[in-house]
Amino acid sequence: MRVLAAMSGGVDSAVAAARAHAAGHDVTGVHLALARNPQTYRTGARGCCTLEDSRDARRAADVIGIPFYVWDMAEQFHANVVDDFVAEYAAGRTPNPCLRCNEKIKFEAVLDRAVALGFDAVVTGHHARLGADGLLRRSVDEGKDQSYVLAVLTRAQLDRAVFPLGDSTKAQVREEAAARGLAVADKPDSHDICFIADGDTKGFLQRQLGDAPGDIVDGRTGERLGSHNGAYGYTIGQRKGLDLRVPAADGRPRYVLSITPVTNTVTVGPREDLEVNEVIASKVIWHSDSTQVECDVQLRAHGEVYPATVTIEGDTLTARLETPARGVAAGQAIVAYQRSPEGDIVLGSATITAAAPLAASRA
């Protein structure tokens, strides 16, 4: 196959490209320039948007012996990922920008251009398995598994994706990088959000959205307990940093239960009020023929899984959880997995729109 390897400058994508090359594919490496001004983004070797990363990717391509180019995806990245990230927070939701980047950049803008240029597929260094059966499964390295942020991909996108690392642990990938003479073998893992250089999401949102003072109210009594400078700075399930002046009657800690952008209100309450048994989601990607399945669902990246009954009706996914989940935020993805000894299989995913205690949703 003629494949395009997306090379971030990190160890995973370098080894993925090397493996595709070793497997006999005709591989071309591409580094995606995502920052409008590359110098302004983070300077440590942790992200995916620096001059150093571009250089590391080029160096790896040279060692592997494949052509290498830089594609400017800054406009698409800003329009589809950064602006979307800000708008989602402004709307009281909690977006996942990595998932969005896979959906709109790596497997849409890049894949479309690659196909137009005559490539058969895009290779990435994601930790997930995608075998000959076409099923997307968790990586053997459960701690590094990235199937959650890939579950948004459609059948057509998956048919043009190659994930060479799914059968390896991160430790094995690093070992192989060293054995192949790739200098990025010891490069630290990237984490946080690549376009927020200092890791301060709240500060980033404040710069983008400005101050928007509003009330913090008690979810049971409606009493005003305090104020905030912008509801976007809060996440469902958050306990710290609420700075409430009125102590709870029972003296127990309070958590963010919901964010209401229309009234700019942050609602708080006791831990048990966070519990939900039912999750509703839209923008459904569904790979199974069954529209009602018993399976596991995952409600955030690297989050725990909950046994559930998932029902698909049109573009709505409803999950009834066997045990309650806490801190379920609108905007995050719900991903359904079918347990399997060869790696849990992704059945589909959707974007969470609402979550409620079962009793309330039945009422």
Binding site: Y69, W71, D112, A116, L117, G118
Partner: protein
Amino acid sequence: MLDEALAAYVAAAREVGNPSSLHAAGRHARRLVEESRERIAAALGARPSEVIFTSGGTESDNLALKGIFWARRAGSLNRSRVVASAVEHHAVMDSAEWLGSHEGAQLSWLPVDDAGRVDPAALASVVEAYADEIAVVSVQWANNEVGTIQPVAELARLAADAGIPFHTDAVQALGQVPVDFAASGAAAMTVTGHKVGGPVGVGALLLGRDVACTPLLHGGGQERDVRSGTLDTAGVAAFATAVEATVKSQAAYAVRVGALRDELVARVRAAVPDAVLNGDPGDRLPGNAHFSFPGCEGDALLLLLDAQGVCCSTGSACSAGVAQPSHVLVAMGADDDRARSSLRFTLGHTSVVEDVDALLAALPGAVERARRATAWKTPR
């Protein structure tokens, strides 16, 4: 590197010796350096004392712009204007910009016509308007992207008549067209080794004997006190050999490669009728062909042609490697799309008609495919 330049390099590199030293080894090295200086001077119409060895074109351009600027301004604070064409190499352009942002220089950019050529009348009017304020004028001999040859002698005379030092970056021109320092009337001229089959890392600034130039590098006072630093004897010897060889073969080279280039241009136009030849159709470097392919991204074309063994270039890239629209094409009046759709094919000593055949075999399919691929840019 040319075989004879490599041989000269190896022969000189075997001998240890600092040309600034007084002992026998030093004397031998010095003799090699000075003979090299004389050979370069003879080949380029300069006097030996006018040859200042540097590390290459970038250093020579920086030295000419900054050094002459500082020296002229030291003579009169009023002389703080730098005049350069809008299509200079970044070594000139960024030196001028740096003088503007760090030394308070005023900058005048000379416009070019749609072929990329500076109109001498534009320089005449700048000289007339700012006669007493201009520190230095710099216009390249030939453009490195579109190959257009500038009317250097005419521009140099205009500057000289007003008593203003004129610098020309002749890096692209040397070996391609006749280059004669004295006949050009320039006060300073940049040349470099690796463009003429010499080593990378050696070049020269030809600097008229009466042109004051403040050094960038201070130290041992080598090179007329204008450029300190121990000379690379082997590099200098190889550079001189390459310059001699390239000047000697220039006329025959220009005829042969120019004809091959004309064939390439004609065949590209036949294969892709809407391709636009950028630069002057006749008065250009013999090995240069530069096209815009409407509806294509230059970097997509490059990828597709590279995959079929055809090497070509788009404009420049930023430090992260992102292709930028060429300032040369923009100065020539091209819009962003035309600038981004451009590609340069360079022919040289080793080019043969089979290379043109290979390009034409790959080009039509690549253009068609690149046109389809531009759809990816459509906003969603």
